[in-house]
Symmetry: C2
Amino acid sequence: MKLYDYFRSSAAYRVRIALNLKRLAPERAFVHLRRGAQRFDDYLALNPQGLVPSLVTDSGDVLTQSLAIIEWLDETYPSAPLLPSDAAGRARVRSLALAIACDIHPLNNLRVLNYLTGTLGATGEQRNGWYRYWCDVGLEALETRLAREAATGAFCHGEQPTLADICLVPQLANARRVSLDLAPYPTLLRIEAVCMALPAFADAAPMRQPDAE
Amino acid sequence: MKLYDYFRSSAAYRVRIALNLKRLAPERAFVHLRRGAQRFDDYLALNPQGLVPSLVTDSGDVLTQSLAIIEWLDETYPSAPLLPSDAAGRARVRSLALAIACDIHPLNNLRVLNYLTGTLGATGEQRNGWYRYWCDVGLEALETRLAREAATGAFCHGEQPTLADICLVPQLANARRVSLDLAPYPTLLRIEAVCMALPAFADAAPMRQPDAE
């Protein structure tokens, strides 16, 4: 297996956590997003979306999209399951994960921020306002759900880390990079602390990666 | 079962297709997004994200996020499967679906367009340029993949409709609403035509819903 990674990518960060939870350590290549390496021909040949992460399996399949990669890892390496065993629980975990992966993260992606300041001529302040706004809208809804739903445990769902925690931790790291005030999200912070006490989460953090700057 | 729906929502459109493929016809409620009904207290109590769709199951669980709902439907009603039977195939279908659900659709959501014109003061032309740009970037990568990958069949993956087709068809409907030139995407158009020949897809179209305007 080979992971195409970038320390700062929160989608790659999700896959790093999942790999650690599964105790898998694939070969790694680093795609330098800020230098535009995701638009180089050799990477586009692998992943036409020009996004990280990609995972090349031992059979040579190229897997893309972090959530699809993590579901594949969970199906292929079932120990330390990343989804609950019941359908309703799986639906809950997936919906928490997608509320981050679809409704927060894509709006705050590097390419989107570049479009705002480049093509639309937004100021740095407007760009940061956009970033914080979509973080807040998304985290507020997550806090409401996690604070009131009985299925929330030490982690987003019960007493083991799942796909939902795997999405939550990188999103909170992103929010901190734009100095978002996280005080309104005590449940998210409590869960994050429980996650970060696990080496699988801590070791996947951006600044602990070999390509970190 | 009860589906909270809105004719124009392409996330709801996905769930309508899945329900039709499964031959399920839940009770329906309509959440009028343009009138802001998704921000009314009774709907927020159900779905704190204030997005459609939501699906309330017969056990009273509230499911949110279209892809999580569709995975639940597929696990709970296995006939007419919406995912392939092999892990690599499932990873491929999920990644095609997520390339739309994460990387195109959230950028062109009504709330995002409203932020562009409202908070950022973008012109109508800039808003439409934004919409077309993210559609094109996403559809271009999908066309590349679907045209070259051997697993593509009459549908996105093989000879049966899957979660990938369920995401593709509503996305192309959205692209048409902003008069995007779809000629560069012959593979997508070919697959769309195959899908639309099936009543499950055709009957789920926005203009065929009871709340259509």
